[in-house]
Structure formats: structure tokens, C-alpha cells
């Protein structure tokens, strides 16, 4: 360090100036690059990563964008994002379920091809894949919700009766039919997109979404009374008074339809 009265030598002054300039340039360029890196993490909702892909943040630190998974995909499901065309981080693999869904090969060739582990080799059963979660997003247009037996999403599901089940419900429109509601079970759904691909509507009523959009989460402190009760084998609160249940029908406090809508003979205790 130069003290007072001894000015910097020209060499040192120059060195410091050059270093400062270089460091400044690097901070500017690095900030731009970091901004790009931040941008790259914004994966569009309809772009699904291959099976076994690490969470997006980790994926971008692991994927070298070589395209070997794309090459080994026998159904040409996977493609590499093109610069400025696809909104996915350029050169990384993804697929669009509505175009070509994942066929869920048993040997998972894309994972086997990945040299870096961006597609986690620990995934050895394709049924454990977690590419996204199917969500029946449009109940108004879904044919099954209208009481028809389309069932296509259910039929094509590779994990049929586990990832998608048909749950029956009363058809209030006809009054005497059932609705067969396609119901996705997120813990079994692999996000392959067969349902979205096969939906017969011009725009799919069921779509595979990334888990961050598809799922809510239960709060840690929530307890379900019926589960607690079963676990305990007895009512959770001792000595609770069992009040009479409110019932629809005449003579009750049903304010929506005074006088009740259920025939009297249907009420418990009524005799025919």
C-alpha cells in the first residue's frame, strides 16, 4: 500500500485500473449470464421432462444437453428445445404430452442413455416415474362428466385402475343414471400423458401438469379426526354428546326448501 505523499507508480496504477476494468466487465457479463440462468429455469407447464429427470433446479446443473436420451427414445417422444422456438432451456430434452406422450418403456432407455445422471439412474421401475400429474382440468367439457361413457383416458392409462379410476356418482341430470368420473390418483400417476394425448376433445379435458401446478399440499399440523379415531380405537374426545342429526324433510329446520323435498316415507323411522 502506498502511503500519503508517495503516489502510485504508473505500473501499479495501470495494473489496478486494468484489474478494476476486467472485474467490472466480468460482473456485468456475469450478471447477464446469471439472469439468463434464472430465466432458463422457467419451464413451461406443458413441457414435461423425461422420466427420472431431477427436479428442474438440479436438472439444469446436471444436463449437458447432449441429446443421447432423445436418440434412444424409441417413440420419438423426446426432443431437444430449440433456441428461440421452444420456451424450454435451450438444448434440454422435453416432451409435449398432447403431441407424443411417453410410452413408459419397461427398460427406460432414455435414463439408461443419460451419461450424467440428469435422468436419475435410480429409477428402475417406470411405474415410479414422476414426470407430472394428470389433472381433469375441464369438467364442463369432459364427456364422462356429462354422463357419457367416453372413458378413453381411463382405458389408455398404462397404470389403469390405479392412476386413473372411474368413480361413480349420481347423474342429477337424468336422475337415474350414474356418472363415471375419471379420477386421477397423483401418487400412482407417472405423468406419461397417454390420457392427455388420447382425450377425444379438440382440446384435451385432461392435461398433465407439473406437480407444482397440479397439486396442493396438506398442512403438516392437520389431523383427520376419522383417522385419529381409528388409530386410537375410540373417540378422540371423551364423553362427547351425540346430538340428533339434522334431516331434510317436513318438521325439520330445512330453510332451503321449507317443507322438505324428501318424501316423508323415506325418512328414517317412517313406515310404508
Amino acid at each position: 500500500m502506498s502511503g500519503v505523499g508517495s503516489p502510485l507508480s504508473p505500473q501499479r496504477r495501470r495494473f489496478l485500473q486494468d484489474s478494476a476494468r476486467a472485474a467490472g466487465g466480468c460482473v456485468a457479463a456475469g450478471s447477464l449470464l446469471a439472469w439468463l440462468a434464472r430465466d432458463a429455469r422457467a419451464l413451461p407447464a406443458e413441457a414435461l421432462r423425461p422420466p427420472g429427470a431431477l427436479p428442474e433446479q438440479d436438472f439444469l446443473s446436471a444436463c449437458i444437453r447432449c441429446g443421447l436420451c432423445v436418440r434412444d427414445c424409441p417413440y420419438n417422444t423426446l426432443k431437444l428445445a430449440e433456441l428461440g422456438v421452444d420456451a424450454v432451456a435451450t438444448g434440454t430434452p422435453y416432451f409435449t404430452a398432447r403431441d407424443v406422450p411417453c410410452e413408459m418403456c419397461d427398460d427406460i432407455p432414455c435414463v439408461a442413455a443419460c451419461p450424467t445422471g440428469a435422468l436419475n439412474p435410480a429409477l428402475d421401475n417406470i411405474d415410479d416415474a414422476d414426470m407430472g400429474v394428470a389433472v381433469l382440468v375441464d369438467q364442463e367439457n369432459c364427456l364422462n362428466f356429462q354422463g357419457l361413457r367416453c372413458d378413453v383416458c381411463y382405458r389408455v392409462c398404462p397404470v389403469i385402475d390405479e392412476a386413473i379410476t372411474l368413480e361413480t356418482a349420481h347423474n342429477t341430470r337424468s336422475g337415474h343414471h350414474a356418472l363415471f368420473i375419471p379420477t386421477v390418483h397423483a401418487d400412482r400417476c407417472t405423468g406419461c400423458g397417454m390420457c392427455e394425448k388420447s382425450c377425444v376433445l379438440p382440446q384435451a379435458a385432461i392435461k398433465v401438469l407439473p406437480a407444482r401446478l397440479a397439486r396442493g399440499s396438506s398442512a403438516d399440523h392437520y389431523r383427520k379426526g376419522w383417522e385419529e379415531k381409528e388409530a386410537k380405537g375410540a373417540p378422540v374426545v371423551e364423553g362427547i354428546i351425540d346430538l340428533p342429526d339434522r334431516l331434510p324433510g317436513p318438521g325439520t329446520d330445512n330453510l332451503v326448501t321449507p317443507g322438505g323435498f324428501a318424501p316423508e316415507y323415506n325418512l328414517p323411522g317412517a313406515r310404508q
Binding site: A22, C26, R38, S61, R65, R71, E82, V85, P115, T116
Partner: protein
């Protein structure tokens, strides 16, 4: 227009060695660049799968993995420890370039090289000023910046803009707007900065330069006594600061071009009419004794009218 006092670059070499002889390494280099591209393209274009993947990572004949060590390094810095396949691939590439010269990648393999070479060729034809010339250490600063950003952001940072892998991947998998980036680099090298991209900025080149610091394969100037100061080698060399220490070295200094910046492109060998340069290994510091202690300057004809 100022008077031209010398032949066009390489003219004397063409007269002395013939056109082919004066373009030997240039042609070999273009063939090599084409070969590496075609190897990758045979699969997607003709269904002949010799090499799969891209320059960032590939699989040859289903057995040989190759990985770009610079991409791998960024990946590690970003917090991912790659699987063994990628590590082996990276090690093979690392060892190969450590032996033959890291920047052999730049001049014999990299698909951006023909772009910047074309820009430089036109630059010379048009007689443009050299423009912005960043300091020599700039690309090392950029290299460090890329690694720091990779570490901070957890993303393999340079792959977000790396024109090398983008162009290569673009040709093999579909280009998108990569062409715009290539055009940008061409014009940058042509108008803004001579040898700007490959010679001053690209951190991939900087990285491979560091790998090849102790490389075996070197260009040497054993016949430097015969140099007639035509300056053609300086004109064609993409890193022409590497030439002086070898060519203009005092007696007793090594004739080897030992700078890691040298890309081993061999263009200096091509354009030298008196064959000063040759490829050799780094322990061959033999200097040919001058036939005439004081070499008579070769009289050059005036510019042909």
C-alpha cells in the same frame, strides 16, 4: 489507397510450393472439421449411427463415451456430481487434448472455427481495421466468470449461450434461431474485433488452452534462420503473439511455440515459402544452423501490375 508493397498473403508460398502445398494444413483442417460434423450427422441424416449425441456429450459405436470436460466442470461447480459414464468420457477427452494440444479442439474440431475463419478472411480482403482488441487475459476472466455464475446459479451457465454446442446441436437436432447467433459472431469478428470471438473471448478456447499447456504436439520454427520477414505467418495466425518468441528468439532460445494459445492449426507452416515451421513434439528444440551466417534478405518483386 496506400500502395501495396507486398504480395497478397501466401502468394510466395503458393509460388514456391504450389497451391495445394500452401494450403495443406488448411485443407486437412477443413476436412477434419467436416469429418467430425459428418460423423455426428450420418445418424440423423442417413441412419448410420456411428456417433450419437453432440460435442457436449456423445457415444461412439455404442461403447466410447466422450464428454466435454468444460461442461462437466461447470456441472460439478453447479453442484451435480456426474455419473461415471460422463466422468470417463470427460477424462478421455481431457487426456487426448492434454497430449495433442488443447486448442487443437478450436482449430480442428470446433464448428465455429470456419465461421470466424471466414470472417477473418473477409476482414483481411476488405483491409478493415482490427478494431477492439481486448486484453490477453480477457477470456480467462470470462472463464472464471462462467464458473462463478455456474456455482451461484446452479445452472451449467455457458451452455445457455455457448455458440459451439448450439450450432453443433442445431445442425444435428434442429436449429431454431441459432443461425442468428452465428451471424452475430461473424459480424462481430468482421467489424467489431478482429479474431474477437475465438481469439479473445471464448471461454471454451481458454479452457482448452489451459488443458494443453504441457501438450506434446507443437509447432516449431527450426528453420527460423531462413525467415525472410514476409510477415505472412503473422497475418494468417489466429493468435499471432505466439509466433514471435519462437521465430524471433535469440540464439539459444527454443524455436518451439510453447504458448498454450497456439491452436496447432498449421497455417503458418502453409504460408511460409521458405518452410521455417514444422509440426514436432515439445522436446524437439532442434534449430537448423543457418546456411549463411547473415541471411541475405530476399529481394521481393514489386506488386504485380
Amino acid at each position: 489507397m496506400s500502395a501495396r508493397t507486398h504480395f497478397p498473403v501466401g502468394q510466395e508460398a503458393i509460388e514456391a510450393k504450389g497451391w495445394l502445398g500452401a494450403h495443406k494444413y488448411l485443407l486437412l483442417r477443413r476436412a477434419s472439421q467436416l469429418l467430425f460434423l459428418v460423423l455426428f450427422l450420418l445418424g440423423p441424416w442417413f441412419g448410420i449411427w456411428i456417433v450419437q449425441g453432440t460435442l457436449a456429450g456423445s457415444l461412439t459405436l455404442g461403447v466410447l463415451p466422450l464428454t466435454d470436460p468444460f461442461v462437466l466442470l461447470q456441472s460439478v461447480v453447479a453442484g451435480h456430481w456426474p455419473e461415471l459414464t460422463a466422468l470417463i468420457g470427460g477424462l478421455i477427452v481431457l487426456v487426448a487434448y492434454a497430449l495433442i494440444g488443447g486448442r487443437v479442439y478450436c482449430s480442428w474440431v470446433c464448428p465455429i472455427n470456419p465461421v470466424t475463419d471466414a470472417a477473418h478472411w473477409l476482414h483481411r480482403k476488405l483491409g478493415l481495421p482490427k478494431g477492439w482488441q481486448p486484453k490477453r487475459g480477457t477470456r480467462l476472466w470470462i472463464l472464471a466468470t462462467v464458473l462463478i455464475v455456474s456455482g451461484l446459479s446452479g445452472v451449467i451457465a455457458w451452455e445457455l449461450i455457448n455458440p459451439i454446442t448450439m450450432l453443433h446441436r442445431g445442425l444435428i437436432f434442429g436449429a431454431g434461431f441459432v443461425w442468428a447467433m452465428i451471424v452475430a459472431i461473424f459480424f462481430f469478428d468482421l467489424f467489431v474485433s478482429r479474431h474477437g470471438w475465438c481469439g479473445h473471448l471464448c471461454p471454451v478456447g481458454a479452457f482448452y488452452g489451459l488443458i494443453g499447456t504441457k501438450a506434446m504436439l507443437r509447432v516449431s520454427a527450426p528453420n527460423r534462420a531462413a525467415c525472410d520477414d514476409c510477415m505472412d505467418c503473422f497475418a494468417v495466425c489466429p493468435e499471432n503473439h505466439v509466433i514471435s518468441p519462437a521465430l524471433r528468439g535469440k540464439t539459444g532460445t527454443t524455436p518451439l511455440i510453447l504458448s498454450p494459445d497456439c491452436t496447432n492449426c498449421g497455417r503458418c507452416i502453409d504460408v511460409c515459402a521458405v518452410d521455417v515451421f514444422k509440426f514436432t513434439h515439445r522436446f524437439d528444440d532442434h534449430v537448423a544452423a543457418p546456411s549463411d551466417p547473415v541471411p541475405a534478405p530476399i529481394q521481393r518483386a514489386a506488386r504485380p501490375t
